[in-house]
Symmetry: C2
Subunit: 218 residues, 2 copies
């Protein structure tokens, strides 16, 4: 299982939860980009979504248009749709994004794609007038990835001399899984990411939702 | 109760759920805009959030940074925070946005504000290269509202000759409440809005979440 459906016209892709991020990049036609940078992380797209994304400087959950997940006790739940317009009301997708496995595991994910004429991955030395879509630190080095209009890249701080080739494979840094922590080899706007770090404890209300989805009633 | 806290520096405003939309506009300093156009709708900010926004052409739930709501049986639940960066993981805010009262009523809402140097409300005749942030139809007439860089307004289709003064008060059209329908005097990208139209029926999973938040356990 991997890329299950791709619609360049409606700008979405459906993938199985275990699809490596690099496979999504490889499957997309030129000029369409997924909501993550060209890196490889533990757990593929499902892991990414359960952790709430990586490196984004915008609201990542909006780019998860739909998903099917399996709760800890094996119940299957589908939520959302395939197009941006369908994302309205009774939103069960967004609580799953960033739920760190408490609601279950993603089996299938519908990601929004965005069109762009240019993209670049580079060592990030200089902030521009445009914030790159993705910014992170890897073993102390700041990196950025941006896609958009060609003129936008320079305004986002892109410098040809600092360009890198993706994908960057960070999986070997996390043999026991990637979790949020105070310190770690990776860092983004939200957290540092450390090997084997446990998920944050959910509050009582979120825990109640997790139990309700997993267990009780029909 | 109305505008409870305003932070131009951190770009958020905290209001009580019953605050009229026009009061939010009146309270904001020049150059900061809320995530709704200069209109008045039933139920104030709480009603707007429960219906999932109005007229937006982007992902509205991302602009609700936090909220406190009261479930049907009177339990108070707080979720989210005050700044964009806090919006991460264990997301209870987004399922409330667009929940049409099934999860309860909004008591307090934290809205993201956006800076802009220019704004305009106008009769929308001509699509530009930039999609206005808000587009809707009122009794058959298409209207648009956009804020951003002054140059952006023309690119969004703004025409001085078609400019309007806000706020437009639509409350008299909905004496029995504003609900989604096939036909109605207002229409946006998501639905037509009709007087007294009931909320859409939630599916079994969302209904289970509503019961879990309202009732069972601590």
């Amino acid at each position: 299982m991997s890329v299950l459906e791709l619609s360049p016209a409606d700008q979405y892709v459906v993938v199985s939860g275990d699809t490596p991020l690099a496979e999504v990049y490889a499957a997309l036609p030129e000029g369409l980009y997924p909501p993550f940078p060209p890196v490889e992380l533990p757990g593929g797209v499902g892991g990414l979504v359960e952790r709430g994304g990586f490196g984004q400087t915008y609201f990542f959950p909006a780019d998860v248009l739909g998903l099917t997940f399996e709760t800890p006790s094996g119940r299957r739940i589908s939520a959302g749709g395939r197009v941006v317009k369908n994302v309205q009301g009774y939103d069960l997708v967004r609580p799953f994004v960033g739920s760190f496995g408490w609601l279950g595991r993603a089996l299938e994910v519908v990601l929004r794609l965005r069109p762009a004429r240019a993209a670049a991955l580079w060592r990030y030395r200089r902030a521009g007038e445009v914030r790159p879509r993705f910014v992170w630190e890897a073993e102390g080095e700041r990196l950025a990835f941006h896609y958009g209009h060609p003129r936008e890249l320079a305004r986002a701080g892109f410098d040809e001399a600092l360009a890198l080739e993706g994908p960057l494979d960070y999986r070997p840094w996390f043999p026991h899984g990637m979790g949020p922590a105070e310190e770690g080899p990776l860092r983004d706007d939200r957290w540092a990411w450390a090997d084997g770090a446990p998920p944050p404890e959910p509050d009582a209300v979120f825990a109640r939702i997790a139990r309700a989805l997993d267990g009780g009633g029909a």
